[in-house]
């Protein structure tokens, strides 16, 4: 090989080697970090035609509506539990320690990420609610087709916020 070809060979093989390493790393990192999305029904009854159940200990994402009245706190700590539901009747319990997002509300769609600790119980490391209250995660909207979802802005005032803001409600109405 003449020196010029040799140089080209070294450079090309260097780049190819780098690409190979990068690809291997990407595939490895991906295999560790892909989380599948489930709805409560899919967790209880299995997903797809083959009825695949997620395994206990698996890291998953779950999306559903927070069952009204199901939010409870354990003792004096910061652990909160609530139930998630989609088309029903299957419900999945979510445990979460920490601060729920500002837009977390009963009846609203949320997405939780965490580890399945019992066949119907998820220990969440993260709970997401969107900034737009009319918003539904697309994956959840898909799963909930056919169920009526009432945006919070159309709820009656009582189940909305219990005390101090009621007198402000009449202020800035939007004429529809």
């Amino acid at each position: 090989m003449n020196p010029r070809r040799k140089k080209r060979f070294i450079m090309t093989s260097g780049i190819l080697g780098g690409v190979a390493i990068a690809t291997a790393l990407v595939l490895y990192a991906l295999s560790q970090n892909i989380d599948l999305f489930y709805t409560p029904t899919e967790i209880i009854e299995g997903k797809g035609s083959e009825q695949v159940h997620p395994e206990v200990g698996q890291r998953i994402r779950i999306g559903g509506l927070v069952v009204p009245g199901s939010v409870r706190r354990e003792g004096s700590g910061l652990t909160v539990s609530f139930n998630l539901i989609d088309s029903g009747p299957a419900e999945v319990i979510v445990d979460f320690e920490g601060i729920l997002p500002d837009l977390f509300r009963e009846g609203q769609g949320i997405v939780a990420q965490g580890v399945l600790i019992e066949p119907n119980r998820l220990l969440a490391s993260e709970v997401l609610a969107r900034h737009d209250e009319e918003y539904m995660p697309p994956a959840l909207a898909e799963a909930l087709k056919g169920i009526e979802h009432v945006p919070p802005s159309q709820w009656s005032d009582d189940d909305y916020r219990n005390n101090k803001d009621d007198d402000n409600e009449s202020g800035g109405g939007y004429d529809r």
């Binding site: 780049i15 599948l36 994402r61 990420q113 800035g172």
Partner: protein, 664 residues
């Protein structure tokens, strides 16, 4: 009336862009100087009418004209005036109008400075800007008219701006980001114009370079402000979430950084030409991809705008036309381009090639992580998400070769470099970096995390090699200081840019490994101790803002030994019109750590869920970005881009003549 004027002005701006897209090119084809010279006035026309349209929308907001649907949806009479102004870009339609204004401003700036360019080339560049404009204006007029009326059912008051957006960050983040995003259309226009002319030479690289750097500076600052804003506004305590929309802005940044370095090679050495053109096309295509991701509703993200399938289809079509068209042109023209320059394996060219390879790999990694879930969904393979650990891990691996190359690059010469000449400086830099990389975390926190040490070693390696490079440049001079100043802005730009990167890596390494996050239950009177800080919850009070009610908690922070650190006020706001809760985090800042308090919800007994973060060196992340941006400003204002007009006029004439001959 004003609304209709705005709409009409937008249509006129579209007409100007349509004329701009082909009249100058016809002029070039026919060799008709008058038609080529029309490019400038047409560009100014496009800019002026876009500006009129934008002012009309601003007026709609300031005058509370709720007969304009967009104003009614995003403003309210109770909203403070400054936020009524920023609400102009608070949602899809208005922000796209801002986008168009920015695009037209870049085009107008190009036209203004284009007297330094040969007329043929200027005509081509502006025509390409016009073509891009055609796509964008059509998109606005067909799918997202911001001047839609609510007549006859005019609302009494507006629905108010999303509370997250009622923040000073909103004033500067979107304009900066758009300046950067759209700025790459200038680099793109230069590349396409060069391809059209069939002449890719170092003159083209020199014209394109300051514009590319300018766009990059804006994008850097835009992303930085976005990160800082998310940090205190979202209340999660993070500064980067690998959110798809963040990724959408990060991809063009990575490609733009590669482009900037590759342009340097093309300018100085006349090689890497076709690669540079490809990068310019890629950077702008990635900007468009980002626009598509954000505005089509395919993504789940805090940023995404409301979904509308027609918008997505339009943008996807436009993206396809831009990529297919420019790649076709590239395929036809770039084959002819040849580089004759030779270089050795150990030379600055090869190291810059390495820089480009790593940056492009990083772009691809981000793209995979962002688009893979979309592909899975579209192919019916189920719903997946790719978490932060994927990106964190990949970027840790990518930073290692990147930082090593970055340290070596400036020390090596173009064409060839003997290793023995720089062996001593490199050895010293490596030794110091390793020693300090382990020593600093140990001094700072007693515990040495492997990843923190790795990050510090890489960052310090960059710092010490940069210092070694500066020493080398002045080694033979008698008077060191004047020699340092004489190095030129371009050189100092590089030094600052690289140091900025090092500062940012230090910030990331420290905050990722040494941050503390505690969620505690606290009521007035309670105290909480962590890492030598005592947080005392003093009181809770309620007050009424212009369009919200706030519960504010006051925390007094002292050291364990009793010395005072400061007062932190943390808020929970309820926005009465949108009926949304909003956390306002409380911060106590010094250069080496942030104390960060976010209120959660109120518990039954009157105590609150409180999240307390101690974030060491987090400011360095943004400080590093600012340093990088300052470096960019130094580079683009270098003498050689400014003071060569007379010389250049000569060269331009030659260029024109050469081109005419080439055509004949």
């Amino acid at each position: 009336m004003i609304g209709e004027l705005g709409h009409f002005a937008l249509a006129l701006a579209f007409a100007f862009s349509a004329l701009l897209a082909f009249i100058p090119l016809i002029g070039v084809a026919r060799g008709h100087g008058g038609q080529m010279a029309l490019a400038r006035p047409l560009t100014y026309g496009m800019f002026i009418f876009t500006l009129i349209s934008f002012i009309a929308l601003v007026w709609g907001f300031l005058a509370n004209d709720f007969s304009i649907a967009y104003v009614a949806n995003n403003s309210n009479t109770a909203l403070p005036a400054i936020y009524r102004f920023t609400a102009v870009w608070g949602s899809h339609e208005g922000s796209f109008l801002l986008w168009m204004l920015v695009q037209a401003s870049w085009a107008a700036a190009l036209a203004l400075f284009s007297n330094r360019l040969p007329l043929v080339f200027a005509a081509r560049v502006l025509a390409v800007m016009g073509m891009i404009g055609v796509g964008f204006y059509l998109f606005m007029l067909l799918t997202s008219n911001p001047f839609e009326r609510t007549i006859p059912l005019i609302p009494v008051d507006g629905r108010d701006l999303n509370p997250l957006l009622q923040d000073p960050g909103m004033i500067i983040h979107p304009p900066l980001l758009y300046m950067g995003y759209v700025g790459f259309s200038v680099a793109f226009a230069f590349a396409i114009a060069a391809l059209l002319g069939g002449r890719l030479d170092s003159a083209w690289a020199r014209w394109s370079r300051p514009w590319t750097i300018a766009a990059w500076v804006f994008l850097t600052l835009g992303i930085m402000v976005g990160s800082w804003w998310a940090y205190y506004e979202l209340g999660w305590g993070g500064w980067w979430f690998w959110d798809p929309v963040e990724n959408a802005s990060f991809m063009p940044w990575l490609a733009g950084t590669a482009l900037m370095h590759s342009l340097a090679v093309t300018e100085k050495r006349g090689t890497f030409k076709s690669w540079t053109v490809l990068l310019a096309i890629a950077a702008f295509s990635l900007s468009l991809l980002g626009t598509f991701l954000v505005r089509s509703g395919v993504l789940v993200s805090v940023h995404a705008f409301a979904a509308d399938p027609t918008r997505g289809m339009f943008l996807l079509g436009f993206l396809g036309v831009v990529i297919a068209g420019s790649l076709l042109l590239y395929a036809i023209r770039a084959a002819k381009v040849q580089s004759h320059s030779r270089y050795d394996l150990f030379s600055r060219e090869v190291l810059l090639l390495g820089n480009n390879v790593v940056l492009v790999t990083a772009t691809v990694v981000v793209m995979i992580g962002t688009l893979l879930p979309l592909f899975f969904q579209q192919l019916g393979l189920g719903n997946i998400s790719i978490g932060e650990p994927f990106f964190d891990e990949m970027f840790m691996w990518l930073t290692i070769p990147f930082a090593i190359i970055l340290g070596l690059g400036p020390l090596t010469r173009w064409r060839r470099q003997g290793f023995s000449e720089i062996r001593n400086s490199l050895g010293l830099a490596l030794l110091l970096a390793v020693i300090l990389g382990f020593a600093l975390p140990w001094i700072f926190a007693d515990v040495v995390h492997g990843l923190a040490a790795l990050g510090l070693i890489l960052a310090l390696w960059v710092v010490f090699t940069t210092v070694a490079e500066l020493r080398m440049r002045v080694a033979s001079r008698e008077q060191k200081l004047p020699a340092l100043v004489k190095l030129g802005r371009s050189h100092w730009g590089m030094v600052l840019g690289h140091l900025g990167f090092a500062v940012m890596v230090i910030g990331i390494a420290m905050v990722q490994n040494y941050e503390v996050e505690r969620t505690v239950r606290m009521g007035p009177g309670d105290t909480f101790e962590e890492r030598g800080y005592v947080f005392s919850f003093e009181e809770m009070y309620e007050w009424q803002g212009p369009n919200f009610i706030s519960d504010t908690a006051t925390f007094r922070v002292t050291r364990t030994d009793g010395s005072r650190v400061g007062i932190i006020k943390s808020e929970k706001r309820f926005y009465t019109v949108t009926r949304q809760m909003q956390t306002q985090t409380g911060l106590q800042v010094n250069p080496f750590r942030d104390l960060y308090i976010a209120l959660g919800e109120e518990l039954e007994d009157g105590s609150w869920a409180v999240r307390i973060h101690i974030k060491p060196f987090v400011r360095w992340i943004w400080g590093g970005s600012i340093l990088m941006a300052i470096g960019g400003i130094f580079s683009m204002t270098d003498k050689r881009y400014r003071l060569r007009r007379r010389l250049r006029a000569e060269r331009i004439r030659e260029h024109d003549v050469a081109e005419q001959e080439a055509k004949a």
